[in-house]
Each structure stands twice: as structure tokens, then as C-alpha cells.
Symmetry: C2
Subunit: 343 residues, 2 copies
Amino acid sequence: MTVGPGTPRSASVKDVAAAAGVSLGTVSNVLNRPDRVSDATRRRVEQAMAELGFVRNESARQLRAGRSHTLAYVMLDAGNPFFTDVAAGIELAAEAAGLALFLCNSDSRIEREASYLTHLEQQRVQGILVTPVDPDAASLVALAQRGTPVVVVDRVRREQALCSVAVDDVLGGRLAVEHLIDRGHRRVAFVGGPPTIGQVRDRLDGARKAWAEAGLPGKDLLVVSSSALTVAEGRSAGARIAGLTARRRPTAAFCANDLVALGLLQQAIRSGWRIPDDLAIVGYDDIDFAEAAAVPLTSVRQPRHELGRMAAELVLDESGNPEHEHQQVVFQPELVARASTLG
Amino acid sequence: MTVGPGTPRSASVKDVAAAAGVSLGTVSNVLNRPDRVSDATRRRVEQAMAELGFVRNESARQLRAGRSHTLAYVMLDAGNPFFTDVAAGIELAAEAAGLALFLCNSDSRIEREASYLTHLEQQRVQGILVTPVDPDAASLVALAQRGTPVVVVDRVRREQALCSVAVDDVLGGRLAVEHLIDRGHRRVAFVGGPPTIGQVRDRLDGARKAWAEAGLPGKDLLVVSSSALTVAEGRSAGARIAGLTARRRPTAAFCANDLVALGLLQQAIRSGWRIPDDLAIVGYDDIDFAEAAAVPLTSVRQPRHELGRMAAELVLDESGNPEHEHQQVVFQPELVARASTLG
DNA sequence: AGGTCGGATTGAAAGGTTTCAACTCAATGC
DNA sequence: GCATTGAGTTGAAACCTTTCAATCCGACCT
């Protein structure tokens, strides 16, 4: 009945077959093609399974079948709500396809990312979604070429060797700055860095384009660079802005992500500034905490769920469709205006 | 050399053995006991592996060995920073033990939790950590009895059938309210719910004990209940507090978690209150966003990393040590005082 | 020369599942 | 009464790795 502690390893189909007085092929049929088995036999087998506490051995199953029932997402930072929201989108698609989704957190460490990718490849997972530390790494292509479907999430790859799903960051930067120009700002700071991050470069790029197209002088779009996209760095940027002379001080700031924007907002409030009268702020990502900030944050929203869902669909297509062709999907961001710029 | 797309399933030890002109036992030795193989042979085998793009098949390995190199954490809500921090602690211990950690998000849905637990059991993972939707479910004990080590995280179990790791929530509630009493508050609101959540009950319990021990009248500790522990619910609670008459309105609020506290804080600022002069606020969990709030939040800190690390160590002990005994570990929380109560 | 030792290598067996060609047997058709 | 049908059942083979007892062989000893 119940199995005491220290029991030998769990029952196998063979044991079940013996207990039910059938062959092991029949047990397998009960599991995989119940319609081919007579009702009486099926019931007998099911009862034997229950009594023995039979648990299918997925390893053996996978070994035989060659494929698993699992998808994995190797994320850059499980602590950043943006990525967990992307993961939620992936999960939706995985669930619909009847697959389990395992999340792995590389925490931006390249050796941990590599270790997870190896582990997942050895497990023969059905597909890997990854937001890589280095989106141009050749190891990703090699991985895909050895047969595991790979989709790059939230990073664009120049070449066509892999599927990727991303959001147009140049457009996002443009939207943010056009909004600020519309609101009458003529001296604006871009806060973010380091410039090695593709996202940061692109968002700044878009900001500059919008600025130039409005005919405004480049020197009035100043860059306040940070060493990471964190709350702490946002605060420190705020302190630097406070240190500027009144003539140079910007009337608005566009931050490379919401964490930075929240830090900046916090520092601004500490300095006694009114938001947005003394300083308007635009963030990026529109994480849930953006709306919940002391002054609700205007932010550039990315379709996070869509991003995840599309990535999952691409990886499933690559895994199941022999005519699969690699695609680079780019979504459009959208500005969500709130009190931090609207007054 | 490189393997084109549409290649048949990857090379096996047998293929490597053939390519290197050795037996398959030798290939296995190169992988598992390199010291037993002569240098020349080892090099030849390694080269063959590289040329064929050999990838170990973890399923076959596991099938033979009976155990995997994986731990899993089934979390209640991947979007709550508290749980991702616990996961980070688990990861530390898993990494030290040379195991991979897979995260699964049940999203508080009982059927998804069940589906993940089944999947993980079938995969024969080395251990499962879980913050369950229902900590008293019998299915967890059954799972453990069938042979998979299980540790309950952040929930206490009455009986001794399982290991569990938690933080003393009664003490946490006590600390929060004692702090408020120390700061001179004599009318305090507890904000949180629903009371079906064990944490909520315990924290309120602790609050009441501290209140009674200070000799204060029970009616001055009012309960503002919410239907979930979210930012939105915090805002709504704030609105309800604002609606109270001046005589009844509390001078301080103790929130069941930081998300609620952040919502309340936001609403309070909108109402034009000064924090903490018009309303002091204490949160719970001390998530990173608590310190980054517009008014840095006083909060009850739980040793999140420790929680995760200890849980992982218990599950490893259960998996490796035949003399393992189930333990209920309870950590002490700690109050972190910040501007939201200190003025 | 004969014997011993030990490092290096071998190959069969085991682990649990799924598949599939082959088989059984009762019912149906002629 | 014999052939045909088909639903139900069977068991060997395959998937890939690891282990371990057995074997090989060159070096060393007497």
C-alpha cells in the first residue's frame, strides 16, 4: 500500500505488468494508447499502478523517444520584473503546447549561462529560449547547429543563423523624447549606461534622432552615463544632475530603464524637487512598479508577454516544423504617459 | 566538421569510440575517470568528440545512475522579488554542490503546481523545494514518501513528515508594532489579507500580542483587510484609511508585505499626507524596492538568502544522507528602520 | 626463461520505456 | 467446416550510458 521510507527505487512497468498479470507491452499501451486496451485489462493495470505507486520514468521515456517535454528560458536577471513578465508570456505558450517550462537564472554571469546551456543541451530539452549576456556569441549558433532549437529573446542578432525576438529600441527612444519635446522641454538628459549594452545604445540613438529632427541643438541633449541599469545608479545620476548649474540643468530626464528612473525619482524627491514641474521623468519597460511609484512614471512599454509568447512559438516551430525558417521579429514599443511628465 | 542542419540525432559514445578506434568503455572512462586512460588515448578520444560534436545524453546517464544532477524550486510567484531572492539563495547552495537549479512558477495556481511536481518527480530530480499554494496538502507527503526529497519553503508544517524552512512571522509582527509603539503611536492599522494566508494571520497575531503587552486597548489596533497582497490593494486600503474620521484615523500602518505598503505609501502621498508625520508606514519582506521607494520604507527583513540556502542544504542532506531526519527550521526576522517611520 | 605485477583497455550487462511485427482467439461469412 | 477478420495482447529490440569483471601486455623480478 503505502511505501515506507528507504524503499528500493520505485516500481517500473515490468513490476506493474507482473502485478496485473499482463505483459509489459500492455502496460505501455495503457499509458500511451488506452483505446487499444480492453476496459477490464485497463482497470486492472491502473489499479496495479496505484497500488505500487508507479511513477513514469521520464529519463527512460526520453531516451527512447529522443525528445523531451520541456522548454527552458535562460534569463539574464530573475530579479528584474521585465524578465519575469517575459517568462510569463513564454509560459502561456508552453502550457498551451503541453510542455513544462524551466527557468534558469544566469544572473548576467557568462559562465553560469554557459553551464546552464550545456546542462539543457545534455538533457535534450525541446527548445531553449535565452536572453544572452553576449548576444553575438558564436556558442549559441553552435548549440543550434548541433540540433537544439534556440531563440534569442530581447536581443537582435545581425545574421540569420538564429531566430530572435526583440523590441525596436530606437523607436522607443524616439517616442520618449518626442513626448518630452511635445511637453515643451528644450533641455533633456539621457540617463543610462554602460554603452556596451545594445539597448542603451539604441535608445540613445532614437533619442538623438528625434532631437535632431525637431531642429534642437545637440548640446541640449546631455548624456548622464551610469555604470549599470539599477536603482542605485539612478540615485547617483540624480545627485549629479542636482550638481549642475541652473543654466545647464535639464528640465526632463529620459532613463534607459525603469529601475534607473525610480532611483532618479527618489533622489529628485529627496532634493525637494516637484515632479514633473522641476524635473519630468520618462522610464523604460513599464514594469508594474513604474505605475506604483510615488509619482506614477511615464514609461515606454514593451509588449513583454507578446515577446515571450512569440519567442516560444518560434522555438516550437523550429522544433516541430521541418520547413522552419529563422526569423527576426521586432515589436513596436508604446509610450504610456503618466504623472511624472503630465503634471 | 561542422554539422549541417537536418543532421541525424547527435553522436553517441559508440560513434566516438569507432572514430577514435577504441572501445566504448574507454570513451566512458575518458568522461568519468580520465586518470585511468593513457594520455595518448585520451587525446585521441577527445579529438573524436570534438569532431563529431558529441554531447552527453543526460537521459541515458540518469537512467543508468538513477539520479539526476538537478534541483528544482517550485515558486508561488516569480514576479514577487521576495521569492526570486529566496531562489538566489537556493542557487548559491546548488551551485556549490555542482547541481543545476530549475525554477518553476506555479503562479499560485494549484493545478499548475501539481503539474510541475508530477513532471519533476517523473524526471527523478534530486530534490524539490516548494512554496506550496496549500502547505498542508497531503500530496506533498505522498511525493516525499515515493522517494523524492521535498522541502517546504516559507511555510511551516505542523507535522514532522517533511522538512520545512520558514521565518517567525509572529515575531515579525511583534517587532513591527513594538517599533511603532516606541515611536509614540497609539492608534495603528494592520493592513493585509486575506486571512486564509498563514503569514497574514501570524503577523497580525504578533502585532496583537505586542499591542496587548504594552497595555494598549485592542480597539486602537484596527484591521484594514485586503483581498490580496498587492500594490493595488495597498492603494485601495489607503483610500479607505483616508475616509476615516480624524478621531479614528490611525497615525501609523503596519502592512502585511511591502507591495501593500508601497501601494499605501503611494496613495498617502497622493492624498497630500507627509510621511511619517501624518502616517508612519511599516512594510514586510524588505524587498529592494522598499529602500528605493519615494519615502524609504521601514520594513521587517526576512533572511531571504539564508532561507533559500538552508532549504537547499536540507534537501541535499535528505537526498544524500541515509540518517537524515526531518527538521523544521525557523529563522528570526529583523526590523529595518527607515524614513517612513523615523521622519 | 618463467612468473608476477599493474596499468590500460575491453565488452557484456543493466537500467525503464516505447514501438512494432507477430501472435491468439473469438466472431463472422460463405 | 474452413477461411477471414480484427480487436487484444505479447515480447524482443532499440535508445545511450555506466559499471565491472575479465583480459591484455609490457615491464620488472628472480
